[in-house]
Symmetry: C2
Subunit: 228 residues, 2 copies
DNA sequence: TGTCTTACTAGCCGTTTGGATAGGTGTCAA
DNA sequence: TTGACACCTATCCAAACGGCTAGTAAGACA
């Protein structure tokens, strides 16, 4: 295993002072190198540290006090810890702005991330090289940055009186995970020490929240959103 | 929009002759830059073209005749076209080796890719920086490269007498997609102009192939595998 | 203190599903 | 021609699911 945090290896310094200092948190080397390369070559910024876990990201921000933290919410098993991290960074290091760089585009997650202090949300597959630097610069200056599609997505979500944008409770996510593993309500009930009726109830709520008609659709949406 | 194909912009040439020439096909700029950066800086290879679509990848291979094509199967809406592309490249340009660099790790897709001519299969989230260069070199020299986890995955799959490694038919995928949209068997039957019994039949087959107990699990596995 | 809201729990009843089995067609290659 | 394969249809019955209604516990707020 690589170590979780690695310090700046000093690739091509250009402007000596007042450079935007960035920490990148992503488990994927290729992405880290790509971001570093784009920001350092084209945008004249400095990637001062990289992290591949939530803890490491927190440590890195603590140690380097960067202007911007670029984070992929998908660092561990579930997205919830990434969201938690946004909260924590905002709380403990308010000077560091957070730019989420996500793999998936899910209304629910975008809204959660913004609610918990993220200053921007870009989708990896959609960003162009120059947009990354611009996005970092913009969040650094206090703007909120939403990538192509992200803005309209949440506008749409907020427009609809209710439904899709609501967050799932931990219990609901547990139930959905179990459903995705092919367990029956009875089995889920046993696993979670609740009655079968309760399992059904949770599923009904999630289908409303996710605007899904059946459990299979719930699982599909939750999987696509990276929740399970 | 960027153009689909862009020629080598000549970043840092080092060894003048006999360098491994690579074409990268991935819709994600960050990944492309990351791969280019890793291969050119650390492995002394040349990325001679980038592509962001299947057609462009084919064109680029035709035009540049690279030693290795690095491809993300997830270039378009579904993975099937990426698999088709492996077949086509192997067929028309046998001198170009194919290294699949995937987001997801699915037994079925790994096996399909190898069956259709891919020479290696690495998982983006698992590769370390040096492994990428080594992998490219290895496939170029005729080896088959399977990333961490990939090998054991398919070994496991081949070990089990039957089941998981079988490929889904187009009809089966259509049915699964519909299930993932929350349709009932009856609705699916109407949509596909077949009887409800047939829908159930297809689902029974897919659950055997995917080794899933219920439709929700089928959808989960198929979604996670990028099939729907 | 009373009222609201939210998460969680539960039972009832009709519909949908899954599993096992047993067939039918058309196509393609050995 | 004979398989092999994808695709289609059907029936039976137990099990699972979805929709509805309703109660409890905890926290927020006026």
């Amino acid at each position: 295993m690589d170590s979780d945090v690695r310090a700046d290896v000093g690739l091509g310094r250009r402007s000596p002072t007042a450079r935007t200092r960035v920490v990148v948190a992503d488990r994927n080397v290729i992405t880290r190198v790509g971001i570093r390369s784009i920001l350092e070559r084209n945008a004249g910024m400095a990637v001062v540290a990289e992290a591949t876990s939530y803890e490491a990201a927190l440590d890195a921000v603590d140690e380097h006090g960067p202007d911007v933290l670029i984070i992929d919410l998908d660092l561990g098993d579930d997205t919830t810890r990434g969201l938690k991290l946004c909260e924590e960074i905002t709380d403990r290091f308010p000077a560091t702005k957070i730019l989420v760089l996500a793999n998936t585009l899910s209304e629910m997650i975008v809204i959660e991330a913004l609610r918990r202090g993220a200053n921007g949300y870009l989708c990896k597959d959609d960003v162009k090289a120059d947009e990354l630097g611009k996005g970092v610069r913009a969040v650094q200056e206090g703007d909120t940055v939403l990538g192509r599609g992200v803005g309209s997505l949440i506008a749409h979500g907020l427009g609809s009186t209710r439904g899709s944008a609501e967050r799932l409770t931990t219990r609901e996510i547990e139930v959905i995970k179990a459903v995705g593993q092919g367990l029956s309500n009875k089995q889920i009930a046993q696993e979670l020490f609740i009655s079968e009726s309760t399992v059904k109830f949770h599923l009904q709520n999630t289908s409303k929240k996710l605007n899904a008609k059946r459990r299979a659709e719930i699982v599909h949406k939750a999987t696509a959103a990276g929740l399970i």
